[in-house]
């Protein structure tokens, strides 16, 4: 690792006195591979990958973890987290995860899907997998756009939002309304923990990590499907800088997709709030 850019600090302490292994407070978890991520600069995918890798490492379930990668920007997720992975057809990750978790009841199985994958082409699969209460974790990245294919409108695109296929903004008469799919899923009795988080600030990342930890624990305790939506940015698709898109997300996405837990119980019980 490069140390050149770190200059000597003012005062008595030399920078080399600080950069010692015993002073280490944060470093890349060993579950993340050395492959550079192909994501655009500032993409929320990298942060969510990192949180998942940290949690799998901290909970000591690397050998039991099986991820199901989607079609979309996260299609190469299997290159970045050092666990077992299976690639699914577009939108079919919950169906594939169902099979994996039923033949490996002790495995921690999760799907990692975007909004084009989960809320559009895979809407039937996710609804039925959650309704059956499959013992899986679903990580849903909602950035309101199809990022990989060039920024087309997704079901979660906000009203008036300009995309490649809605150049005058999403018109609700023509294109329908933005879909709060997490709210729909919270009503299904098969789910145990349904929450919506964001990773645009350090506090948000820490909260999201706590939520994902609880969701993973629910899967390990066989409580039913856990569903974690992460409201994210797509700075390339939105055509903004990473910092500006974080700000835009806070001002526009979060009012429509409010953060917080929607359901926290066990499979078969209704406790939606």
């Amino acid at each position: 690792m490069e140390l050149k850019e770190v200059t000597k600090t003012e005062g008595t302490m030399d920078i080399q006195d600080i950069l010692k292994p015993e002073n280490l407070v944060y470093q890349k978890t060993k579950l993340l591979t050395d492959t550079p991520m192909h994501y655009c600069p500032g993409c929320s995918h990298g942060v969510v990958h990192k949180i998942l890798a940290e949690l799998i490492d901290e909970m000591g379930i690397q050998e039991r973890s099986i991820g199901v990668a989607p079609v979309g920007c996260a299609v190469f997720a299997y290159n970045y987290i050092d666990i077992d992975w299976q690639e699914a057809a577009h939108g079919r990750a919950p169906a594939v995860a169902t099979g994996i978790s039923r033949v490996n009841p002790d495995a921690f199985v999760f799907t990692y899907q975007g909004d084009g994958d989960l809320a559009s082409i895979g809407a039937a699969e996710i609804m039925h997998a959650c309704n059956r209460g499959e013992n899986i974790l679903v990580v849903f990245i909602n950035n309101g756009i199809y990022g990989m294919t060039g920024g087309q409108m997704a079901p979660t695109t906000l009203e008036g939002m300009v995309t490649a296929t809605t150049p005058y903004g999403r018109n609700t008469d023509l294109n329908g309304y933005p879909m709060r799919i997490t709210n729909l899923i919270a009503q299904l009795p098969g789910t145990s923990y349904v929450t919506r988080q964001a990773v645009h600030t350090a506090g948000g990342v820490r909260k999201c990590k706590r939520a994902l930890k609880k969701a993973i624990q629910n899967v390990l305790d066989k409580k039913g499907t856990s569903f974690v939506e992460v409201v994210s940015t797509c700075n390339s698709g939105w055509k903004m800088s990473p910092v500006a898109s974080n700000k835009w997300m806070e001002e526009n996405m979060i009012p429509y997709y409010p953060l917080g837990d929607m359901k926290d119980s066990v499979k078969g019980e209704h406790s939606e709030n």
């Binding site: 690792m1 770190v6 600090t9």
Partner: protein, 75 residues
């Protein structure tokens, strides 16, 4: 009360210059360098290292996990 002092090491070849860490830093320690790395990105570096308290906010928000954070009490 002993003053807490920190330092961060940015892997400048991994950094994509998104500047999310620059925004996340509460003490304005980080900035983007005027030079670019081999990918052509203006990488993040410690502009004012004396202000760092090692809160690790930069490392937590970094999408490419290229920041390592150290913290100790100032002697």
């Amino acid at each position: 009360m002993a003053r807490v002092i920190g330092a961060v090491v940015v892997d400048k070849e991994e950094c994509k210059g998104c500047s999310v860490c620059v925004e996340a830093c509460p003490h304005d320690v980080l900035a983007l360098h005027f030079e670019v790395n081999s990918k052509g990105y203006h990488y993040s570096y410690m502009k004012s290292p004396e202000a760092c308290v090692g809160c690790a906010n930069c490392g937590v928000v970094c999408p490419d996990t290229c920041i390592t954070v150290y913290r100790t009490k100032a002697s």
